[in-house]
């Protein structure tokens, strides 16, 4: 009888972080694609755009004027999804009816952070020093927002590229701070907490050790340095999905400050972000779109010092070329996420991509 072959046969893999499955159909990469193709946005941009609401010196939607900033710049989102000045939501009495119509009010604050004054740069082309400035701004805003007693979770994320819903190419991320702990981090915290209870160790510490040390061949490692590893998780959904995980047990951005060795952790994080984003752009020699987000402990972390673990997720949609993305639609939305190439094939491709940006060659 033929042996089961992970690069040929359909299988599903379990995501222990979100407690869910993903279907992997590797032979499906052979399918020709006759569907929708993205339009490449190769219009070359100027370093300064007088129409951009993120460029230094320009005026924003609500009339505020941006300063002549030199590295990063943080301000309140002019169209915030959550606000701090709203009436309290008072729950109605719970009978059977209201148990099917459950609601919570959500207060919070939404910040925008520009990564650079330059309109026409992306993280992939920024220097490690410039990325270090971004990391230090993340720590700063995290510290500031976590002192507000009503804020319980701080979600930092970047949408890069118009096909990932980014409405302005000026390099920036968002910081949404809420009184509720959102769905995804909650799911992860529950799984990590269960794992800790069962194994008396941290899920992501164990997983990182497994991938970087215990396994003889290291099929999912993309790149690493002393403090961080970047890998395609065994249970990845997006074609070139990666995670950056800290090798030591760090639970939030604030732990990057308590570093004896002169900010080595911060520098190593800048190094690994620099390398993976550069590799991404080199896969198809285009500006590689993605959503990136940082997961960490909730603000009140006393219950999560053992099980929570700082990590970054990159969810890039491209599958075969700058214009052909993977659609997570029908079956994916209604039944189960489905991927074509295996995480090991993706890691292989990324590993072999140069760390020198294609535009600089």
């Amino acid at each position: 009888m033929k042996k089961f072959n992970f690069e040929e046969n359909s299988h599903r893999r379990f995501n222990p972080l979100t407690n869910s499955w993903v279907l992997c159909s590797p032979h499906r990469t052979k399918r020709p694609w006759e569907g929708h193709k993205e339009v490449i946005d190769d219009e070359s941009l100027a370093e300064y755009d007088p129409e951009c609401y993120l460029c230094p010196g320009n005026t924003r939607a609500q009339g505020d004027k941006n300063p002549q900033y030199e590295n990063t710049f943080i301000f309140d989102n002019d169209f915030a999804a959550v606000k701090n000045d709203q009436p309290e939501y008072l729950e109605q009495s719970k009978d059977k009816i209201s148990s099917l119509l459950r609601v919570e009010g959500v207060r919070g604050e939404c910040k925008v952070m520009c990564f650079s004054p330059k309109h026409n740069i992306t993280v992939a082309e920024m220097s490690e020093d410039a990325i270090l400035c971004v990391i230090q701004s993340w720590i700063k805003i995290y510290r500031e927002m976590s002192t507000k007693s009503y804020i319980n979770y701080i979600q930092i994320f970047e949408n890069k590229g118009s096909i990932m819903g980014c409405s302005n190419p000026h390099p920036h991320c968002q910081v949404w701070c809420t009184e509720t702990i959102p769905e995804e981090p909650t799911k992860e915290l529950i799984s990590m907490n269960n794992y800790y209870k069962n194994n008396n160790s941290c899920l992501l510490c164990d997983y990182t050790q497994l991938e970087t040390i215990k396994l003889k061949y290291k099929p999912r490692i993309v790149c690493e340095n002393n403090s961080f590893v970047c890998l395609t998780p065994f249970w990845a959904v997006w074609p070139y999905e990666t995670m950056i995980i800290s090798k030591s047990h760090i639970i939030s951005l604030l732990d990057l400050e308590n570093d004896d060795d002169g900010n080595i952790l911060q520098k190593d994080l800048a190094n690994i972000i620099h390398r993976i984003t550069c590799k991404y752009d080199n896969v198809f020699e285009c500006s590689f779109p993605y959503s990136m987000g940082i997961h960490q402990a909730p603000v009140d972390n006393k219950d999560h010092t053992n099980d929570s673990h700082l990590h970054l997720h990159f969810y890039p949609p491209l599958l075969r070329s700058p214009t052909i993305k993977k659609f997570l639609v029908g079956y994916e939305l209604l039944a189960e996420p489905q991927r074509d190439l295996t995480p090991e094939q993706a890691a292989d491709r990324l590993r072999n991509c140069s760390e020198i940006h294609y535009k600089q060659k």
Copy 2:
């Protein structure tokens, strides 16, 4: 103090089917949109396309020739995500390592069903009689596949429109049959089973009664007939997301056959699908893209006769116009789904849309 206002203030709503939350930020609809716009695909199509692998008489990728079918036509997907002829996956011994690298083999079959020989029609423009033929084909394929002992779940879904990943405009759906019960139906079955244990009644029976009978104002009903209701669920994620739910306790498509009254259920289902898809096209006077899927009991349903309940989900991406969709990206992927207009506002808009297709006016 000002009262909490659901059309102004941010809140989250709980989805009792998937046991998860969605963030609702109604004031955000005021935000101007400067990002990506879709290209309208208004190229007018011919009734027969010699290049289309779904049109009657044409030859498909693997060399098979389609018959001159007159209503629906079912065949094996030439690039199936799951197959029945693959080696069995034998689990390796479970130590701590493999518990983080969990895998299952997935055997199954993927079918494609053409809704009509006409290349240039969509469900929205099909007659109720033609939709009735589709429903009867769904029942037929469901019955056929459910006799195969290794098949445990049958997922019928339609991707409509190129922005929903549909690679061929010829009206069709897919039927993926697997030995595993996929993620989403599993989540729903767990929630419905828990609800049944706690309340001794079916979650979707109770929810349907609440929306159609108990509530004085019926803010989320889009349209209904004797057997089915179409509504925007209280916890909807997509801007114009709807559900079609059977009013009586029906657990799978097979129950549509055991109908004393001469297929009234099948006709009523055709009626409600006809009306909602037509309303959808009328929202922006364009062919409204969506992913649609049918959720029902697993094939072996003896444990789910009380808690499972037949329903259809429609997930349409458009938000403001034929070219502006809602991006479920950054925050949505990494933290929590976020919506702008409320489900009640969406229901209102859909309710007021004509049930005569704009092209027929």
